[in-house]
């Protein structure tokens, strides 16, 4: 939150701003340029925060990593059996890989949501003791979620090879998908972190919300099977394009429609702007509400 304006005259230290001017916020927001600069200067904090948290959960050990992978893998098996029994027919080959690809990606969003929600309320005394751009906390939580995501890609790759799905140029579509997912999760994390400060039971609603979101996203089913009267979810679900593009590119080597990807990006940016506004306009309050 340090709205430091480092003046050129006597700032002999570019790392710790030496001249700070604190003024009332205009329109409820901290001055954005110094905010962004202070945020960027402290970017190392985010990587340290996520590695330390991953270490604290013992996720850096061999078994810890195994668990990060095992958890969605087992979930994949559960859904696979469920869908196979409910639909009462053998699924297309590759369906299990399709399911896993979607689940791995979606659990990153879910983790970003739950870690993001508690990022401010769980930060404790640092909020009351130190001035810093609070947005570092939810973004660090998103980083943690992505940090847990990378090891699952190895498993996914192995599963692809086992099912004779080989790397192709369409896999490059995964890059924009991940960027969009990062923007989207950051926005949601900031929004949830803010709400959590005011309503501490927000996190207890999250599992239901993220479960519903999973079911209306093309994780268990293919994007093409959406019935005509439910077409709205293609447009209203920010994750539709993200997961759909991801899984189809990996498993079926399909390129997405550009409009699908752009719509997903638009949703992500909208969430980011709304989340950032909610967070920044409220973060002054955090010090007296924690």
């Amino acid at each position: 939150m340090a709205q430091a304006t480092v003046d050129g005259v006597d700032s002999d230290d570019q790392f710790v701003g030496n001249h700070h001017v604190y003024q009332p916020y205009r329109a409820g927001l901290p001055p954005l340029k110094p905010y962004a600069r202070e945020f960027w200067r402290r970017r190392e904090f985010m990587s340290e925060m996520s590695t330390a948290n991953i270490r604290a959960e013992n996720m850096d050990s061999w078994f810890g990593r195994l668990w990060t992978v095992l958890n969605p893998l087992l979930l994949g098996v559960v859904y696979f059996l469920l869908v196979n029994i409910l639909s009462n027919r053998g699924m297309k080959p590759g369906y299990f890989v399709y399911l896993l690809a979607g689940l791995f990606l979606f659990s990153t969003l879910q983790l970003a949501m739950s870690e993001g929600a508690r990022s401010v309320t769980g930060a404790g005394k640092i909020i009351t003791n130190t001035a810093f751009p609070r947005a570092l906390l939810p973004i660090a939580a998103v980083r943690t979620a992505f940090g847990r995501f990378w090891p699952t890609l190895i498993v996914l790759f192995a599963m692809c090879l086992l099912n004779r799905i080989y790397p192709s140029v369409q896999w490059l579509w995964c890059i924009p998908v991940l960027i969009i997912l990062f923007i989207l999760s950051s926005g949601i994390a900031m929004l949830l972190a803010t709400i959590q400060v005011y309503f501490r039971d927000t996190r207890s609603f999250l599992p239901y919300m993220s479960r519903i979101w999973l079911y209306i996203s093309p994780v268990l089913w293919m994007p093409q099977v959406v019935p005509e009267k439910l077409r709205a979810i293609e447009f209203l679900n920010p994750m539709f394009g993200v997961v759909g593009t991801w899984s189809e590119a990996i498993v079926y080597h399909q390129s997405p429609k550009l409009s699908t990807l752009l719509l997903a990006l638009a949703w992500a940016l909208l969430f980011f702007v709304v989340g950032a506004y909610a967070f920044l306009s409220r973060e002054r309050d955090f010090a007296v509400r924690i």
Partner: protein
């Protein structure tokens, strides 16, 4: 340094108002129940009202006043944690804060990790912190506890670490809120000695304390706050005497009792 920047801290007509809740753990459930009854749990607090003063480099300002006088809010505003609602605060120099005990991010993380995270959040680089971290650890005398998760710490150990971090980051300006009152007698003596050392090195300090004796020996100037307003500001001895008279405290008695 230009002449008009001789001051370290300039507080210009600052008011700080904030809204908070009286609930300890606000929940959606309670909010709904309250809304049903047409109640609200939000209170607006005018913690600091139209306060102005300047502090020069090398001065030590003591802030005294009753509970709820706005002392803590004022130092938080100076630290940039709670920016003013009106007015302006200018701070020149590297600021280090000891406003809440516990460097704490995560009780599951070790002392070292918490120091690193706290330092990075405060805007220091990894290299700067690594340079200081041994000194910080040594001063706390925590030994191998520095490697252990902070949930294993006693409250005294928490405050030793927090204090050590604040004073060893080479601050030009140190903001301290009631920190000297924590810890055992030995630690208190050690902390006082360290504060004295910083004062001798012409560091600027702002101390919020109820211990009038400490305030009197440490401060060059004292601000007496009452209900958010600055009632008196001036030479330490004079303001403290006025405060003691007002509250009919025997100063000698206060000094000896509160510092025990």
């Amino acid at each position: 340094m230009p002449s008009e920047s001789d001051y370290a801290i300039r507080v210009k007509d600052v008011s700080v108002t904030y809204r908070t809740t009286f609930e300890r753990r606000p929940t959606f459930k309670d909010a709904l129940k309250r809304a049903g009854r047409g109640e609200r749990s939000v209170v607006e607090i005018e913690a600091v009202k139209n306060v102005s003063f300047d502090i020069a480099h090398g001065e030590v300002l003591g802030i005294i006043g009753n509970n709820g006088a706005g002392k803590s809010t004022l130092v938080r505003a100076i630290a940039g944690i709670l920016p003013p609602t009106s007015g302006e605060i200018e701070v020149r120099g590297r600021v280090s804060t000891l406003l809440a005990l516990g460097v704490g991010f995560n009780a599951k993380l070790s002392g070292y990790e918490n120091v690193m995270l706290g330092g990075l959040a405060a805007g220091y680089t990894r290299a700067e912190i690594s340079e200081k971290i041994d000194e910080i650890a040594e001063w706390t005398e925590l030994g191998e506890f520095m490697e252990l998760p902070m949930q294993t710490y006693s409250s005294g150990m928490y405050s030793r670490l927090a204090f050590s971090v604040a004073v060893h980051m080479d601050p030009d300006i140190l903001l301290v809120d009631e920190a000297l009152s924590a810890g055992d007698a030995r630690f208190k003596a050690k902390a006082s000695a360290k504060m004295e050392e910083l004062r001798a090195n012409a560091r600027t300090m702002v101390l919020v304390s109820h211990a009038l004796g400490t305030v009197q020996t440490m401060s060059t100037r004292v601000a007496w706050m009452e209900k958010g307003e600055l009632l008196k500001f001036g030479e330490a001895e004079e303001v403290i005497r006025a405060y003691a008279e007002h509250h009919s405290i025997q100063l000698e008695a206060a000094t000896t009792q509160e510092d025990v």
